[in-house]
Symmetry: C2
Subunit: 166 residues, 2 copies
Amino acid sequence: MTEKAGFPQARTILQQCLHARLQVTPESDQSGAEWVEINRGMVIYICFFKGAVEDIIPKIVNTLLNLKLCEADSGKYVSVLDLPGSVLIVPQATLGGKAKGKGMQYHNNIGKDEGLQLYSSFVSMCEKELASCTSDTKHIVKHGTYGNRQVLKLDTNGPYTHLMEF
Amino acid sequence: MTEKAGFPQARTILQQCLHARLQVTPESDQSGAEWVEINRGMVIYICFFKGAVEDIIPKIVNTLLNLKLCEADSGKYVSVLDLPGSVLIVPQATLGGKAKGKGMQYHNNIGKDEGLQLYSSFVSMCEKELASCTSDTKHIVKHGTYGNRQVLKLDTNGPYTHLMEF
């Protein structure tokens, strides 16, 4: 991993979980809310900045899925692919916020259409990587709906929170 | 809030919660685990870097408690003091991590004794600020045990995750 100069293209926060549950469709008159969930694995909160391009996606996926951030039963840290664990991806535009006075501004965040495109690529590539590394259908990628409120319930054995920028 | 040049003294991650529960003493042969919990309010994960000094604490406390990060019932964003809400402080040294290859290194983190000192000051000042702003004993500051594993359970209506560095 090389040091990046200048403004990043993406910001991610990583947390380890025993169980995580995320709303993907809010409740409506017609039906109840829909949720996705994972058991043991990693929650990835992601936000893209202005200037982010498709080329950055493989690097983000490769880095996050291979970083030794997950505590194995042995107590050693291994990657989420090696755990093996599941991944919950949470689009989190607020991560791009900057304080101005007492309020937050999001002027550096990427536009909604471009952001959705990059988010979709990121999700697809995570799914492909996880599928190619395990034949075990227990280890899955789940993800939030871009642009929705990310109603999240998280159960950890220590979130072991990390920040990674790209 | 002015732009900071150079390496920060502290990194914080802020998440909004409906309920959060944090282990402060692990289970032992003699007794069960002890937990603290808050209802609606803000979770502050904090990490200090080498070079952090006591002078930075009032600025961090003042900024975090007054930033408009909490969604009021009206849908408007207000500070945790104005909500009013509670605060759960989680010491999180992993936030200082930097990837080297597939592993994480924490060379820029402050030493344990100095870190504990700064953490304790931060907790005390948050407690004082919250107490001076509300006579309501429902709105409290709870905090994790520095150096322990931070076993956390979080229930949100959207974590609205923000990064703030000082």
